[in-house]
């Protein structure tokens, strides 16, 4: 027990306040931009931002230094597509704010008030090196889920980095089910909603949308205006090749749509079209089963093949324990590296695999200048690991978010500590905290 506490304290390095200049030296530095790791590099951080990172970085006078020799220093992991902070216990409906089956609203819903910065999942995933996440609502009664946000995983109540960062819509099998039973219905619903939003934009005061049988109410119409005008991205969940092409074709009628696709299990079969249309993709990394008929061509080579074809691509967690296990991101990225050694398969290089969980999702969300890499000027989301961050044997030693050191404890680590030894004791476990 005592031994463990000492160990935990050692991992919590005493770092200076965020405003001061900090130099992390000697570690293997990962920039996160797709380049390969830099041994013996330095990362300089000041005022919550990255000043410099790499080899031959000079340490500013007066900087406090942390020796990271033998460790790895990387940007924080960006959860490419998650439901983080929306759920405490999935099956306890009161704690699950992913979707709103009985709401009057759909596109107008906003995840901001639903995100709980103190959710146990935030602490657990922070300890896994996750510092930012794309948080999307789910759908239940309609094809539109609502407006998602970009969050940080800092141990404070200020989680929202960018509210209403995108709109989320289902247009595959699930969208068909939501719209009434077919893709014909989901695409009709989608086109109608965007047309109504344009009507609303031209004359908000004159827009109806108040009656219960209205095709799109005012709240939902207002939320879709920036989508149809292209100022807010539209994240579309599709898996199948035909759906991917159908979604790309929507831009013929709605040319300003800023499309981002998620899921995309069959993306590799239409990779050239995705690349030509310049539509970015946040894909599931390892799905290789025909889990549904819309995923018959699923393969672990999907991301690698899309990347090779020139598609802008990142790793997301859609339908994959998206509320609780964003920490799988590093394992998934590592598996894509492993694929490179399997004949016939297509993976990613190490640098690309890390970028797929750091700068690439950030860039797809339009935040590449802010987060996801250790390039100068980015927010100082920095993780120090005790080994290769994609390797299963590695653990997180230090997490900085905006230059602020974060606690790595959670109710899971507290439970572990309580039960590490269960010898006879003077008082029950409940007194050990």
């Amino acid at each position: 027990m005592k031994k463990l506490l000492a160990l935990a304290c050692a991992a919590f390095m005493a770092l200076p306040a965020a405003a001061q200049t900090l130099a992390i030296t000697g570690g293997t530095v990962v920039i996160g931009d797709g380049s390969e790791p830099i041994p013996g590099g330095t990362v300089v951080v000041r005022n919550g931002r990255v000043v410099a990172a790499g080899s031959n970085v000079s340490i500013p006078a007066g900087a406090q230094t942390v020796d990271a020799t033998g460790q790895w220093v990387t940007p924080g992991i960006v959860g490419g597509f998650t439901r983080l902070g929306l759920v405490e216990v999935s099956a306890v409906s009161e704690t699950n704010d992913v979707s709103a089956a009985e709401s009057e609203f759909s596109a107008g819903l906003d995840v901001v008030p639903a995100i709980n910065p103190l959710a146990a999942s935030i602490a657990v995933n922070r300890a896994g090196g996750i510092t930012r996440a794309v948080v999307a609502p789910g759908t239940s009664g309609a094809i539109f889920g609502g407006q998602g946000a970009i969050i940080d995983l800092g141990a404070d109540m200020d989680a929202i980095m960018r509210p209403r960062a995108f709109q989320f819509v289902e247009l595959g099998e699930r969208g068909a089910a939501r719209a009434g039973g077919s893709r014909s219905a989901s695409f009709a619903t989608f086109r109608n909603a965007l047309d109504q939003a344009q009507l609303y934009a031209r004359n908000p005061a004159g827009y109806g949308g108040r009656s219960a049988d209205s095709l799109l109410n005012r709240v939902d119409a207002a939320a879709l205006v920036p989508v149809v005008q292209g100022t807010v991205p539209l994240i579309v969940h599709v898996e199948q090749a035909r759906d991917i092409l159908n979604v790309i074709a929507l831009r013929e009628d709605y040319p300003r749509l800023r499309l981002i696709l998620v899921g995309v299990s069959e993306g590799w079969t239409v990779a050239s079209q995705l690349a030509a249309a310049n539509v970015p993709v946040i894909a599931s990394a390892l799905n290789d089963l025909p889990a549904e008929f819309e995923q018959l061509a699923a393969t672990q080579s999907n991301i690698g093949r899309m990347r090779a074809a020139g598609v802008q691509v990142a790793i997301g967690m859609i339908d994959d324990r998206d509320a609780h296990q964003i920490r799988y991101s590093t394992q998934y990225a590592g598996n894509l590296v492993a694929l490179g050694r399997v004949p016939g398969a297509t993976g990613l290089s190490w640098g690309e695999a890390f970028a797929a969980i750091s700068s690439w999702p950030a860039e797809i969300m339009g935040l590449g200048n802010e987060i996801g890499s250790l390039r100068p000027g980015r927010r100082a989301d920095v993780v120090i690991w005790d080994g290769d961050p994609l390797e299963l044997s590695s653990n997180v030693d230090v997490v900085l978010i905006d230059g602020v050191q974060q606690p790595l404890t959670s109710r899971q680590t507290r439970l572990r500590d309580r039960y590490l030894s269960i010898d006879e004791r003077e008082l029950p476990q409940a007194y050990e905290w």
Partner: protein
């Protein structure tokens, strides 16, 4: 009791293969012996599995984990006739043996997943494929999940090629207090379930405690609607099965009219007789303790707690009762009884002297059980629990083999056991490693470097997925 022998002959005629024979012959003799005392066929769906032909093979230069905690660096394994012949630092290569250069590679026993729904919840996961739960009554000990298994599930080949899984236990679902019988399968492509069935593996009984049964039946205003009714209904079932058991004992001793058969009671009686192994879905420590007391009350044993998320709270009780815990490395938060997960659960159970097993219950994680073990191992070490890699491999092979009653056949690289092996293209606890070759009973059924040695199920043939797996 001609049927098994007849079936075997028919299968042999069909394939025109030579037979080793001994296994199958002893099967039918045993069945005949049971037949005379039980007045019915206890094995009406017998295994027709036969090992595929293999070549005498030596793997040399590899790091070997024997599955029982042993490790040999730069060692050699020799297998022939479907069995492990020798494992040592150095061996003389027998004449004619195929030599596989394992320099820089690792050899382990094949992985055994003690909790899988491949076949009974196959992909595609359409409603027509939902065959894992008979949600029509709180006690369905009469159903045998082998009758749900679809051998064409594409998940089997993914578990083989990506996961090195050579044996799996298919469990019926946890909606009911008694979910039915499980079946242990060899992970070989086959046309029928019987052709995958592990010869002579004991049956298991799936039991469940906690949220699932009370949610399913309570939601219908039926019993059990609470944890207390979970236990009450289960105890009554044991009491009824005891009466049935006595009726048969009386018949065997004194003759007369045989009692009417009851498939529910039959399974439970088989458990009390020690012939059927209990796989008890149970998350919480307090509930596991209650289940162990109930087992004590009715004189049966629990083989494993499946999903034992809170096993780390009671390793002493588990050790004393000799119950294994089959666990995920880190799943949590999906239901209330899965809220108290710790990443160190598996190493903490192992460290407490109890039997620890890594299980999947998932068609994706079954492809990476070695990685799940590796994560748990790393977290355990961080917490000061030092377990070697070789020791940790027990979680993936010999411990599940014991819990399935097949450890005399597989689960470790010991002379005479079935030659179920994986050659990994690197450290099997590294994320960068994949199975390079997988043998089942000495037959090479997957070779990373040979695209023709990758099975494609009937379902995938002619589909877009056919191209995706090559």
């Amino acid at each position: 009791m001609m049927k098994p022998a007849f079936l075997l002959a028919a299968v042999l005629a069909l394939f025109g293969c030579a037979t080793t024979g001994s296994q199958s012959a002893s099967n039918s003799t045993a069945a005949q012996e049971r037949d005379t005392v039980s007045a019915f066929d206890p094995d009406p769906f017998p295994s027709t599995y036969r090992p595929y032909p293999g070549r005498p093979t030596v793997i040399q230069g590899a790091t070997i984990y024997d599955g029982e905690g042993g490790r040999i660096d730069n060692g050699m394994v020799y297998f022939a006739d479907g069995r492990i012949q020798a494992v040592a630092q150095t061996l003389e290569v027998p004449a004619g043996a195929t030599v596989v250069d394992g320099t820089g590679l690792w050899v382990t026993p094949g992985i055994i997943d003690i909790h899988s729904h491949l076949g009974n919840y196959p992909t595609p996961s359409v409603a027509a494929h939902q065959d894992g739960n008979e949600i029509t009554g709180n006690n369905t000990a009469n159903v045998w999940t082998e009758h749900s298994v679809w051998p064409q599930d594409p998940g089997f080949s993914r578990a083989l090629a990506n996961g090195g899984v050579t044996t799996l236990n298919i469990l019926p679902g946890s909606a009911n207090l008694f979910g039915g019988r499980s079946v242990t399968l060899r992970n070989v492509p086959a046309r029928t379930m019987q052709a995958m069935k592990f010869p002579d593996a004991p049956y298991g009984l799936k039991m469940a405690c906690g949220e699932n049964p009370k949610r399913v039946y309570g939601g219908r205003n039926q019993t059990p609607g609470s944890r207390m009714a979970n236990i009450a209904v289960a105890r009554q079932a044991w009491i009824d099965a005891q009466r049935y058991q006595r009726q048969w004992e009386n018949y065997r001793e004194n003759g007369g009219t045989p009692p009417a058969r009851n498939l529910r009671h039959e399974t439970l009686a088989g458990v009390m007789a020690g012939e059927i192994l209990v796989h008890n879905h149970c998350y919480r420590a307090d509930e596991m303790a209650i289940m162990m007391d109930m087992a004590e009350e009715f004189g049966y044993s629990i083989s494993t707690f499946q999903h034992a998320v809170e096993a780390y709270k009671i390793p002493d009780l588990l050790r004393e009762n000799g119950v294994c815990s089959a666990m995920w490395a880190d799943w949590w938060g999906f239901k209330m009884e899965a809220y108290d997960t710790v990443n160190e659960n598996i190493p903490m159970v192992h460290n407490g002297g109890a039997c620890a097993i890594v299980h999947s219950d998932d068609e994706n994680q079954i492809q990476r059980l070695n990685q799940e073990a590796a994560k748990a191992l790393a977290d355990g070490r961080r917490a000061g629990i030092d377990i070697s890699d070789a020791e940790a491999w027990q979680w993936l092979s010999i411990n599940p083999a014991r819990a399935l009653g097949i450890d005399d056949q597989t689960g470790s690289l010991v002379n005479g056991k079935r030659a179920d092996l994986v050659l990994w293209n690197g450290d099997p606890f590294s994320v960068y490693t994949r199975p390079q070759m997988v043998w089942i009973d000495g037959a090479l059924l997957y070779d990373m470097n040979n695209p023709e040695l990758r099975p494609i199920s009937d379902f995938e043939l002619g589909q877009p997925s056919e191209g995706s797996v090559r």
